[in-house]
C-alpha cells in the first residue's frame, strides 16, 4: 500500500467528502472527518520521511507513464507543504467540533465537514501533482469549497466576502489556465519535468514570457501578495473561526508552493530571475506589503481582521525570501511557510476560543480576558511573540535566516525593513495584550475558560511554536534541502 501513498493521499479524502455529506449526522460526519485528517497526516509524514531518504517519489496514475499520463511527484519541497497542510488539517478538525456547533446551524454541519475535507483534498492535490493542468483542477476544488466554507460565517458580510473572493479567485485561476495553455502550445506537454526540459528551447519566443506573466499574476492573486490581497481581509474576518484558522495556515501556503514550483522547477531560476528579472517586481511588493499591511493592522479593532492584515504582511516576508533567489533566502522563505502556519494557526485558534465564549473578537469586548480566559490568552501571547520574532519562538528562526540572507547580498535596507516589520508587529500584538491583560473584566458577563477540546489543539500549535523555535535543526534541515533542490544546487 505504501507504494500507492501519493495517490491515496488525494483519493481517500476525495471519496470521504461525499460520504460525510451522505451520513448527514453532525457527530458522525465529524468523526469521519477526524479519521480522514489523521490518516492524511500519517500518509504525509510517511511520504516526507520516505522522500528524505530515497529522493523523489514518482507515481504514474493508472500506469500511464509520464509525460503521457498524469504523474504525481513527491520531493522534499512538496512533501514539506503536504505535511503543513495535513498537520493543520489534523489539528483544526478536532477543534472544529465545538467551535462549529456554536457558529453554524446544525443542519449545515455535515455539509461543512464535507466542504472542509474537499478543500483539504484540493490543497493536497495541488501539492502532490506533477501535471500543470491537474494543478488547475485541484486549485478549483480547493477554491470552490473555500468559498462555500467562508459563506457559512454567521455575519451576513461573510456572503459578500465570499462573493468577492469567488470573483477574484476565479480571475486568478483563469489567468493560470491562460498561462498553462500558452506553455502547452509552445511545448506540447503538461508534465512539469517535461516542461522544464522543453521550455529553454522556446524561451526566446514572445509566447513564453507572456505565459510567465499570466502565471505570475494568477498565482500572486491566489497567495494574496500586495496589491492583489483585497479578497483576504474580509474572507478571514467573517469566515467561521475554524475555517479562518485552516485557510490562513494552508491556502496561501500552497499558493506560495505553486510560485516556487513554476518559477524554480518549471521555468528555472535563470529564466525567472535573469531574463524576466522577477526579483525586481517581487521584492518591492514584498517590502511594501510588510510595511503597509503591518501599519494597517495596527489600526484594526477586530482582532481577526488585525491578524488577516498581519497575514498579508507575513506573506510579504515569505515572498521576500523567495525574491532573493539564494539558498539562504529560499530557506528563509520555505521555513517561514511552516513557521507562519504554526503561529497563525495558534493565533486564529485562540481567537476561535474567544469567539466561543464571548461571541465577538472586537477589542472592546475583550477587556480583561487575560484573567477570565488565562489559557486562551496565554496561547495568543505565545503566538504573538512568535509573530514578532522573539527568541525561542519559530518567528525568530525565520527572521534570523531572512536577515542573514539579505545581508549576504549586502542589502542592508531590506534587513532594516524586516526588523521594522517586527517592531510594527510588536505594536499590533501589544494592542491586543494591553486590552486583555490591563483592563478589568466585566464580572457580570461570567466569561469562563474555553473548553478543553478547543484549548488542546490551540496549545499543541502554541507549544510547537516554542519547540521548533528551540530545536530548529530538523525544520531548517528540510528547508535547506528543499531550497537547494529548487535552485538546482543539489539534484
Amino acid at each position: 500500500m505504501s507504494h500507492h501513498l501519493p495517490v491515496l493521499l488525494v483519493v481517500v479524502p476525495l471519496v470521504a467528502a461525499p460520504v460525510i455529506a451522505l451520513l448527514n449526522r453532525p457527530r458522525i460526519s465529524w468523526a469521519v472527518a477526524v479519521a480522514v485528517t489523521l490518516w492524511v497526516l500519517y500518509a504525509a509524514l510517511a511520504l516526507l520521511s520516505q522522500t528524505m531518504v530515497d529522493g523523489a517519489i514518482h507515481y504514474a496514475l493508472g500506469g500511464w507513464v509520464a509525460p503521457y499520463g498524469i504523474e504525481y511527484v513527491v520531493d522534499p519541497v512538496n512533501a514539506w507543504v503536504i505535511v503543513i497542510v495535513a498537520l493543520i488539517g489534523a489539528l483544526v478538525t478536532p477543534y472544529a467540533r465545538m467551535s462549529v456547533e456554536r457558529e453554524i446551524s446544525e443542519d449545515r454541519i455535515p455539509l461543512f465537514y464535507a466542504a472542509f475535507i474537499l478543500c483539504l483534498t484540493g490543497l493536497l492535490g495541488i501539492a502532490v501533482t506533477g501535471d500543470v493542468f491537474n494543478v488547475f483542477v485541484f486549485l478549483e476544488i480547493s477554491s470552490l469549497s473555500a468559498y462555500a466554507l467562508i459563506a457559512l460565517g454567521k455575519d451576513r458580510r461573510a456572503l459578500t466576502a465570499s462573493f468577492q473572493y469567488l470573483i477574484m479567485g476565479s480571475v486568478g485561476a483563469t489567468f493560470i489556465v491562460i498561462g498553462i495553455g500558452l506553455m502547452y502550445v509552445m511545448t506540447g506537454t503538461l508534465n512539469m519535468a517535461d516542461l522544464a526540459n522543453r521550455l529553454p528551447e522556446v524561451a526566446s519566443t514572445r509566447t513564453i514570457p507572456v505565459a510567465f506573466t499570466f502565471l505570475t499574476v494568477g498565482i500572486t492573486l491566489k497567495l494574496a501578495l500586495f496589491p492583489l490581497h483585497l479578497w483576504l481581509p474580509n474572507a478571514y474576518t467573517y469566515a467561521p473561526s475554524a475555517v479562518t484558522a485552516f485557510l490562513a495556515s494552508t491556502a496561501t501556503k500552497v499558493a506560495v508552493y505553486l510560485l516556487l514550483r513554476f518559477f524554480f522547477t518549471i521555468f528555472g531560476v535563470t529564466f525567472s530571475f535573469d531574463v524576466m528579472q522577477l526579483d525586481r517586481i517581487l521584492m518591492p511588493l514584498a517590502l511594501v506589503a510588510i510595511l503597509t499591511m503591518s501599519l494597517v493592522a495596527i489600526y484594526q479593532e477586530n482582532v481577526k481582521r488585525l491578524l488577516a492584515y498581519s497575514s498579508i504582511a507575513q506573506i510579504g516576508y515569505i515572498v521576500l525570501g523567495i525574491s532573493l533567489a539564494s539558498v539562504l533566502g529560499l530557506t528563509a522563505g520555505i521555513l517561514h511557510l511552516f513557521n507562519h502556519a504554526l503561529m497563525k494557526g495558534a493565533l486564529f485558534m485562540s481567537m476561535g476560543c474567544v469567539m466561543y465564549r464571548v461571541g465577538s473578537v472586537r477589542l472592546e469586548r475583550m477587556g480583561g480576558l487575560g484573567r477570565a480566559m488565562p489559557w486562551t490568552m496565554a496561547a495568543f501571547v505565545v503566538g504573538g511573540l512568535s509573530l514578532i520574532g522573539a527568541p525561542l519562538t519559530v518567528g525568530f528562526i525565520s527572521k534570523w535566516y531572512l536577515v542573514q540572507a539579505a545581508l549576504e547580498q549586502g542589502m542592508w535596507p531590506v534587513a532594516g525593513v524586516v526588523l521594522l516589520g517586527s517592531l510594527l508587529a510588536l505594536m499590533y500584538v501589544w494592542k491586543v495584550i494591553e486590552v486583555a491583560y490591563f483592563r478589568e473584566v466585566d464580572p457580570e458577563l461570567g466569561i469562563t475558560e474555553a473548553p478543553l477540546s478547543l484549548l488542546a489543539p490551540t496549545w499543541v500549535l502554541a507549544l510547537s511554536n516554542v519547540y521548533f523555535g528551540i530545536d530548529a535543526s530538523r525544520t531548517v534541515g528540510i528547508a535547506t534541502r528543499a531550497a537547494e533542490l529548487l535552485l538546482g544546487v543539489l539534484s
Binding site: F136, Y147, R157, L159, F163, L166, S170, V171, T174, I178
Partner: protein, 117 residues
C-alpha cells in the same frame, strides 16, 4: 500568417476584454457572474484554437493513412474539464447571489455597501 488567419485569437482577446471589463465595471452581482463567464469562455476558444491544424481531421486512426494530419485532441479534453469547473463556479456564485439577496435585499454592490455601514 495574415491578421485574418488569426481571427480566432482576435475573437478570444475581444471576448476576454469584454468579460474582464464587465467583471470590473458592473456593480450588479449577476452581471459580474456573466462577465466572469464570458472571460472564462474566451479561454476555452483560445485552447480549442490551439489544437486546430489546417487540414487536420478528427484524431481517429485511419487505416493505411500515413500522411493524414490529425488535430490535437488534448486541448478539447482539457477544456471539457475547464467547462465543468466554469459551471461549478457559476453555480456557487449564483447561489451566493441568492443568499446575498436574502440577507441584504439587493444585489447592487453600492447598495450592499450602504447597507453594511
Amino acid at each position: 500568417m495574415s491578421a485574418l488567419g488569426l481571427f480566432n485569437y482576435w475573437a478570444a482577446i475581444f471576448l476576454m476584454m469584454v468579460g474582464f471589463y464587465t467583471l470590473i465595471a458592473r456593480g450588479n452581482l449577476i452581471k459580474k457572474i456573466i462577465g466572469l463567464n464570458i472571460f472564462q469562455t474566451s479561454v476555452f476558444i483560445l485552447y480549442i484554437t490551439m489544437g486546430k491544424i489546417t487540414g487536420g481531421t478528427a484524431p481517429i486512426f485511419v487505416e493505411g493513412g500515413r500522411d493524414v494530419v490529425y488535430s490535437n485532441p488534448i486541448p478539447h479534453v482539457l477544456i471539457l474539464t475547464a467547462i465543468v469547473v466554469g459551471v461549478a463556479t457559476s453555480a456557487v456564485g449564483l447561489s451566493l447571489v441568492i443568499r446575498i439577496k436574502e440577507a441584504y435585499g439587493t444585489i447592487e454592490e453600492d447598495e450592499i455597501e450602504d447597507e453594511s455601514l
